[in-house]
Symmetry: C2
C-alpha cells in the first residue's frame, strides 16, 4: 500500500485525488488546501485539512499547486527528509525546500476540470534527487494505469516546451480554422475528422513523413491565393511563417 | 445503381476507386489514366484505359488529377453535357470545360497512399453548377458511408485554407515538438497522448474555450524561459507569433 497526501485543489490535484482514491493499492491519507471550500465535496472520501500543522505521515507528499506557490508551500511543510514532489512541467526540482527528498511527478497531459480523464492516456515524467525514490513513484503511477518515464531537468524542460507547441499552439491553429470557416458561414465540424486524422497519422508516420500540402510542394499559386484571402494580418503572418518553416524542414528553396 | 468513371491514379483516385468498388450500389465503368502502370494491379476489378476516345458512358465522371492538370483533361474529354466533377479543394469549378455539367466533390481529409481509409471519417464538400445534380452526388457519397455538405465556391476556398492551418501547419508543430524532444534525447512518443487529447478536446469545447498554457495566462516567466531555450531562430519566431495570436484572441495586453 502506498500512502499519499495531496496538497492543492486545482485540476491536476483533483484528477489525481480521484484516480488515487479509486486505485486498489493507494491510500490518500489527507488532502490539504489553504481554503477548504473546493475540497468539501470529497470530505466523505478523505480527511480534508487547511492546517499544515495537522499534516499526517505519508510515503509521498504531492504538491499540485500553481507554479509560483510551490516553493513557499514546500518550505512551510512541517516535514523533514520525506519524499515531496511537485507536478509542474516548468518549475525546477530545486525550488522545493532542500529539507525534503525532492522529486517531480509531471503528468504530460491537458486537464479540464469537468472532463473525466483516463489516466492510461497520461504519461508521467519522473525526476528525482535520490535514485532510491524512483521505484515508489513508478509504482504509484503504474497503480493508476499510467506509464512513467524517467527524465532529467533538461529533458523535462524540453517536454514542457514541446508541449506548448503541440498543445497550445496547435489549439490556436484550430481556433484560426474556426475563425476562417465561421467568417464564411461554414460548419467548423467539417474540419474535425481532418483534425483527428492529422493527430492519428503520427502513430504510423513521423511528422516529417506525414507532411503534405501547398507549402511542402511549394505550390506558389495556392500559397499566393491563400495569403490573399486571409483577412487578418496575424493570420497572414502565421501562414507565411509556418510555410517558411515547412519549406526549411523539407529543403525547398525560399 | 450509380455508374462512375474515375480519371487519374493518385491517392484520392485510388482511395475512391477502392471505396466505390466495395459499395453495393455503385459501379465503376472504367478507370482512366494517361499511363496504365499504376492501374495494372486493379485490371481484374475494373476496365482500365489510357485512351480518352474509348471513354464509356457513366452517370458521373470524376477527375482526380493534380490541380494543374484538371482544366486540360476536362477539355479533352469527348463528352458533352455530362456530369463531370473534380476533387480539388482549391481549383475553381469554372476551370472545368463549360461543355460539361460541372461540379466539385472535395473530400476534406488527408490521404496517404498506403494507409487504409475509413470513408466514414471523410466529409465531402459538394459544389455544383446545376442544382439537379446535387442528389446523385449526395447519394454517391452516402453509398461509401461519408457525409456530404453543400458549399459554394467561397466556402470551399475557406475550408481548403482552414485545412492548411489545422492539418499542414499543425503537423509542422508536431515536427517541431519532435525536433525539441530529439535534441534532448527524449522519446517523442511521450507527447502523443497530449497530441491526441488536444485534437479530441474540441469535440466538447470550442478551440477558444479549450485554450490553456503560458501564453493565455500571460505567464511572463515561462514565456521568457521557453524563448531562451529554443535553439533555432525560426522556432523562436513561431513561439513569439503564436503567443501573440493566443493573446490577441484572449484579449491580453501585449
Amino acid at each position: 500500500m502506498i500512502s499519499v497526501i495531496i496538497l492543492g485543489a486545482g485540476n491536476v490535484a483533483t484528477h489525481l485525488f480521484k484516480a488515487f482514491n479509486n486505485a486498489g493499492n493507494i491510500v490518500v491519507n489527507q488532502w490539504y488546501n489553504r481554503n477548504l471550500k473546493p475540497l468539501q465535496p470529497f470530505k466523505n472520501d478523505v480527511e480534508i485539512t487547511k492546517d499544515l500543522s495537522q499534516l499526517k505521515n505519508a510515503d509521498i507528499y504531492i504538491i499540485a499547486v500553481s507554479d509560483d506557490a510551490i516553493s513557499k508551500l514546500s518550505s512551510q511543510l512541517p516535514l523533514e527528509n520525506r519524499l515531496v514532489v511537485h507536478t509542474s512541467g516548468s518549475v525546477s526540482l530545486h525550488k522545493l525546500d532542500k529539507k525534503h527528498q525532492r522529486g517531480v511527478l509531471y503528468p504530460l497531459q491537458t486537464f479540464s476540470k469537468n472532463t473525466d480523464l483516463n489516466f492510461k492516456n497520461v504519461p508521467f515524467c519522473i525526476e528525482i534527487e535520490h535514485k532510491s525514490n524512483f521505484n515508489i513513484l513508478k509504482a504509484l503511477v503504474s497503480s493508476i494505469g499510467s506509464k512513467s518515464y524517467k527524465v532529467n531537468s533538461e529533458q523535462r524542460a524540453a517536454l514542457h516546451l514541446a508541449a506548448v507547441f503541440v498543445n497550445n499552439f496547435t489549439n490556436q491553429l484550430y481556433r484560426i480554422g474556426h475563425e476562417i470557416t465561421e467568417s464564411k458561414s461554414v460548419d467548423f465540424n467539417i474540419l474535425k475528422p481532418l483534425i483527428k486524422e492529422t493527430a492519428n497519422k503520427i502513430d504510423t508516420l513521423t511528422p516529417y513523413l506525414a507532411q503534405t500540402g501547398p507549402a511542402k510542394r511549394n505550390d506558389k499559386k495556392t500559397l499566393k491565393k491563400h495569403l490573399g484571402s486571409l483577412d487578418k494580418d496575424i493570420h497572414k503572418d502565421i501562414y507565411e511563417l509556418m510555410t517558411k518553416s515547412i519549406q526549411q524542414t523539407h529543403g525547398k528553396k525560399l
